[in-house]
Subunit: 350 residues, 2 copies
């Protein structure tokens, strides 16, 4: 185990969360500008999963994200279709987390050299993601910048809307007593890869190895595309009783804090954690506290709802292809996110 | 002059245009997917400056772009406000090129380390760009990915709309006899920087030098932020007679081919080229043909209009702060873009 004895964390993997937060505050404070209403009217809350703006007679949602260092894993494995699907999924899931239906996507590919086969694979992945989200590709940018990027920096932006007067769901109606439903993830998605890659490299486990408890090579397990939750949300967003939606992305379970700060999200029934996460925790000697705020730990999307509507929502999810959704806890008086069985509490997002 | 004797070109600077084009075709072909109409209806033409989609009762335009290697120049000079402004300007100018009014912007910053002062400077630049475009910042993504990016890879996406039933302007109504108006650029904008940086480095000219014909240090000249043409377009887009709009970005004057393929854009009156371009051409021994398809050569935006409306449009532009706009040529029977005095013709974009 050697170096990993000390225990890997995101900070040791090269990301200083506090410094990132400080830098972001500086950026947002300096960038503040209020456009005239003739250019559309932003709708609060700012900084949620997607930005909302009223343009003419429509309310729109926009969000942007990159696959980050998952692109380095794609490069090591020489496989690009998976991250092509990811870059759509991670963005449309953020739209789903405000209850918006995806309409349009644009991709941004910065790379060190243009390779037709590589871009064809990314294209096939984009198509899979677009199909899962029923979303149109409206453009993109491909920059060949070998001095700037090592490999491929793959990002995108998704635009969504609220059909038929549907209202956004931002979590402000969540109250104690609400139930929490979790929809399983398909693996790491596109978060925590910086840490996961360090752990695997540090432990000297080859990406081609099939670890105990899996049938697939470790590299392919890590590369599994992000599950798309758009159809889950579309299947139930027009039902009454839904009070919050969370995409469990970077920040792990602390993402729930983004929904509301005046309640406690008690995750009493977190489902059995897939063995891939146990493998990473063990080989990296990563503390549970760090695991649950870095990885999705098996749950990629959470739905908060009034307790009486949980059963009907689970049935609806089952019909939409999400029969693996399960109750994971409830909302209580208090603050933050807690995993009582593990003695973990998160007061802040990230 | 040494190495530059042979003459610099984009290919020698590391960018193989044909390979990029091939790769893009592969990407687009593989990504093709037609979403159901319930997810919005894309409006042709695809691949123009911005993608168009009808969502509910509104027609929207979306576009994405990065500042590319201009970020490396920013890093060399330790100045980030300029590229912060650029990333907004290059995107909203693409919206202006379809006649859309900018409403929302999201930024994407991939960087090797988070530095509060650097992000504050980018934030101030974003604010300047947003102010010039009267556009709201609706979100962003900041990824710390030291293994992936050297310095800062700065991109963004802009969303625009067509207020009051305004129709998009895509160039299909352009016909022989139309007049062409050019609006001057503020420098290189964010295009051709890979080539410009190579030329300057190869010629051994320090970025701190003030070249003959300029009052500013060369580095700052090259870093000058992109001019924003939003107010120019907003000032005249509701007038009759406008048939085409072109942002002279990567691809230089060949951008005009994007407006229409069945006419010839004859640039008989190209204005005096700013001396910075002459400096680059001379020190890099760059052929005119390469110069005009790489750099904007002093004109950042072009407006095609019916000949009788040119005068009123120029007056309107003058009142909107673009008194430096000038006639630059006209539309003729034929194909492509020509600069007759230089004997240059471009049949294709890029």
């Amino acid at each position: 185990m050697g170096r990993s004895r000390r225990g890997w964390s995101y900070a040791r993997a090269g990301v200083d969360r506090a410094q990132v937060a400080r830098s972001l505050r500086e950026l947002l404070s300096a960038a503040r500008y209020r456009a005239p209403a003739a250019s559309g009217r932003p709708v609060p809350p700012a900084g949620h999963y997607a930005g909302l703006i009223r343009i003419g007679r429509e309310l729109l949602a926009i969000t942007t994200d990159t696959v980050g260092t998952k692109g380095l894993l794609a490069q090591e494995l020489g496989r690009w279709e998976e991250v092509g699907e990811d870059v759509v999924a991670i963005n449309v899931n953020d739209l789903a987390a405000v209850g918006a239906r995806p309409a349009a996507f644009v991709d941004t590919i910065s790379m060190d050299r243009p390779t037709p086969a590589l871009l064809a694979a990314i294209g096939r992945g984009l198509r899979r993601g677009l199909l899962a989200a029923q979303c149109s590709l409206l453009g993109g940018e491909t920059a060949v910048v070998p001095e700037l990027v090592h490999g491929v920096d793959l990002g995108g932006t998704a635009l969504g809307f609220f059909p038929g007067g549907r209202r956004p769901i931002t979590g402000e109606r969540i109250r104690p007593g609400d139930a929490l439903i979790g929809v399983p993830s398909s693996g790491l998605h596109a978060n925590g890869l910086t840490l996961a890659r360090r752990i695997v490299a540090s432990a000297g486990v080859p990406l081609g190895r099939i670890r105990a408890g899996s049938r697939r090579r470790l590299g392919l397990e890590l590369l599994t595309p992000t599950r798309t939750y758009v159809r889950a949300v579309e299947s139930l967003v027009d039902l009454p009783g839904i009070t919050g939606l969370a995409h469990i992305s970077g920040g792990g379970v602390s993402n729930l804090v983004r929904l509301q700060r005046e309640v406690e999200f008690r995750l009493n029934d977190w489902p059995k954690v897939p063995s891939l996460f146990g493998f990473l925790s063990q080989h990296g000697n990563v503390a549970p506290r760090e695991m649950y705020r870095t990885f999705n730990m098996g749950v990629g999307f959470v739905i908060a709802c009034r307790p009486g509507t949980r059963g009907p929502l689970l049935r609806r999810l089952g019909k939409a292809g999400f029969a693996d959704a399960v109750p994971i806890g409830s909302v209580d008086r208090g603050r933050g996110v807690s995993l009582p069985r593990l003695g973990l509490t998160y007061e802040r997002y990230g």
